[in-house]
């Protein structure tokens, strides 16, 4: 029997029991579709986070005050004996050669008030460099002024949501905004951007850094963002900055410096692991579908005893009988896999149209993997029925009704 004969034989057998074949196929389809959908959502989350970090600007070093030996603790909360100061930020800009832009940041929450409208807002105290480092666009007005003297000015740039909630449709430029007890003149409004790494930049008020430190009564910066001129320079720049700060802090290495790459790699790893775990759980259903195929094939073997007996009586080799049943099982599962693949691809496309900001997309390896796994499922679970068929004694098979 040629391969074409085998396939023809198998298709004939499958078409003889459409419902039965359809149901076995459906099992595989559900399994494959759920694995692909879950991994697509996971991959989408990974791409989303990666994309979010890209908006931070490339080649970034992030300097935090404080350092701990134990991992898993977030340096966000800590205070350290040596404050991370504006002078530290200046020093990085002047002494780390590849540092192109340095944006010091203090952050806090304050009660904002315009007239009698009030709400709590996040306040970022920073310098004019922040605009370039975080790639912020303005809707109107201008950003915080550059230069040393400007750092204490009582001016602010507000997010688009702050504008709409506190000023309504009025033009906010030149108006006064109260933060706590202090008055700030609004000089700019940022363009809407939405969530970025958990921070809604539209709900933020930017003020000059020294003003921000006074407002929150802080002597330490929350972090320093350092933009490095080229990607190759990052490791050296990180080392230089660490040494510089250690020197400035009386020999204490009490800062943590993250490179954007390392943060990204960590996130990527965690999300990939999560995706694999969810995909693995969904893949359990593929096993169940395989068991279903095996069962149907066993039934089919026992129904077709006479047919098998006849084949063997006319000299078909046991190996060919095995191939015939394996092809049948593989056809079932591959068709199911293809169906599941198509359904999942359609569903992810639908997801992308409904939530354009969330890039749900199957990882590149998923399509070949899904197809080969579904063929594998058929071959694996078809093996037992096929062996059983090949071992039938032709005389007994034909003699029994």
């Amino acid at each position: 029997m040629s391969f074409r004969d085998l396939v023809g034989f198998a298709i004939g057998a499958l078409r003889g029991h459409r419902l039965r074949s359809g149901l076995s196929l459906l099992g595989v389809a559900i399994g494959v579709a759920s694995v692909i959908l879950l991994t697509s959502v996971g991959e989408g989350a990974r791409l989303y986070v990666t994309g979010e970090f890209a908006t931070l600007g490339s080649n970034l070093l992030i300097v935090f005050p404080g350092k701990t030996e134990t991992t898993g603790i977030s340096p966000f909360l800590t205070e350290a004996p040596h404050a991370l100061t504006l002078e530290d930020a200046e020093a990085i800009l002047h002494h780390v050669r590849s540092a192109r832009r340095v944006a010091p940041i203090v952050f806090g929450v304050a009660a904002a008030r315009v007239g009698d409208r009030r709400r709590d807002v996040g306040v970022i105290g920073t310098t004019s460099e922040f605009l370039g480092v975080r790639q912020i666009r303005l809707r109107s007005g201008r950003y915080l002024p550059a230069g040393e003297l400007a750092r204490g000015q009582r001016v602010c740039v507000i997010g688009s949501k702050v504008q709409s909630e506190l000023f309504g449709s009025r033009n906010p430029l030149g108006e006064i905004l109260h933060l706590g007890e202090e008055r700030f003149r609004v000089i700019g409004v940022t363009a809407p951007r939405g969530l970025s790494i958990g921070q809604d930049l539209d709900e933020i008020v930017h003020v000059p850094v020294s003003r921000g430190m006074k407002l929150f009564n802080k002597i330490s910066l929350f972090r320093i963002l350092v933009e490095i001129s080229s990607h190759q320079e990052i490791p050296a720049a990180r080392r230089n900055a660490l040494e510089l700060l250690k020197e400035r802090h009386e020999g204490f290495e009490d800062v943590t410096i993250w490179t954007q790459d390392s943060v990204l790699a960590t996130f990527s790893r965690v999300l990939s692991l999560l995706t694999a775990a969810l995909g693995g759980i969904a893949a359990i259903s593929l096993t169940v579908a395989g068991v279903g195929i095996m069962n149907v094939m066993l039934v089919s073997v026992s129904e077709r005893r006479r047919e098998i007996g006849l084949l063997k009586a006319i000299g078909v080799m046991p190996r060919q009988v095995v191939s015939a049943f394996l092809v049948e099982a593989a056809l079932l599962s591959t068709a199911g896999g293809a169906l599941g693949l198509a359904a999942a691809l359609g569903a992810t496309r639908l997801m992308r149209t409904m939530y354009p900001s969330f890039p749900a997309r199957p990882p590149f390896w998923v399509v070949p993997a899904a197809l080969s796994v579904s063929i594998g499922v058929g071959l694996l679970f078809g093996a037992l029925p096929a062996r059983r068929a090949s071992r039938l004694d032709p005389v007994a098979a034909l003699a029994r009704r």
Binding site: L19, R20, L23, S24, G27, I30, G31, S34, L38, G66, K67, T68, E69, T70, G72, I73, P75, F76, L77, T78, E79, A80, P81, H82, A83, F107, G108, V109, A110, A111, D120, V123, G180, E181, L215, F216, N217, K218, I219, S220, F222, E250, F252, E253, D254, L278, I281, A282, I284, S285, T287, V288, A289, V291, G292, M294, N295, V296, L298, V299
Partner: protein
Amino acid sequence: MPRDFWKLAWESIAAHPLRSALTTLGIVIGVASVILLTSLGEGTRRSLVSEFSQFGTNLITIHRGKTTTAGIPGAVGGTIRKLTLGDAEALRRVPGVDALVPVAFGSARVEFGERGRDVVVYGVTSEVPKVWRFAVGGGRFLPRGDPARASSFAVLGPRLKRELFGEANALGEHVKIGGRRFSVIGVMASKGQVFGFDMDDTAYIAVASAHSLFNTEDLLEIDVLFSLGASGDSVKEGIREALIRRHGGEEDFTVRTQAESLDVLNRVLSVVTAAVGGIGAISLLVGAIGILTMMWIAVGERTAEIGLLKALGATRGQIARLFLLEAALLSVVGGGVGVAVGMGLGALIRLAIPAISVHTAPGFIAAALAVSLAVGLGSGVLPARRASRLDPIEALRAE
């Protein structure tokens, strides 16, 4: 008659042992994976809840900043008004308040001789062992005194002590924390990780010392222990009113009872468990399709038998019930075995990796059995209808 039903259904299942076993296996795998996954989820929930409850249930935490959502208030710091030691002391006068700890927090290098280690340093008061239920392993905790006054006493977590001193005695020795001299008066008993914070790798100093070390006047939080007789809600309300008065009429802080925090935690983890269990349940669906397929095949094979039953006067309802019973038997047996397999795997995991907590709630078992019964009945409906609608004459002729 019911006995005949059971007998007939059982006989037709037993007539094809391999086929029946495989059909059941689908359900077994499905139920086992759902049971295992939800047990893992429930185990995690319980271990987190017990981590929480080790601090006691009559605890109230006050953070800076007002949040209504489940986030961590004050995490990044800086509303207009801070929480101060004055605030903490004022809370002692609120009825029902038994003890309280103002907490300052920072990271600093702790040095002894040549050895040094960067750790989290807590600025607290003498009442930590009582409020947090932390036990002192050796020596004693920080002495009682005016919280506004700094002292040069330090208490080390056991891991920090081991890293700096090895097996040697630490009590009475001097360490440097952030460059300042402190004398070690106590070592805590081991506590392990609490929410990812290694509570053993820390140092405790007086809150005023921490304030001067970190050059701040701010508190990370205030932990209040209320007396067992008092109601958490009324103490919470008292704290709220007292702080609002001190903060010039503004509610720029968050007061949360342990019960509320637990509630949030429980809700989040239950959702996660349900989601993971749901993904596992996809295999149950596939298993149900397997039952449907096999029952469909069985109806086809037993056309003659059904025709005979009908010719003998069996009603359509009876035929349908017979096949439904068979499907339900297959899947309920699968469900039972699945529960056993899932729990067995859970027990194995617990033996192999004791750190992972596995707990199968009785509710899950009942739900799994109910679902598998429903799966059997659901997937038996179509084949049963097909069987009951066979025309006896045609069916007999098919022979």
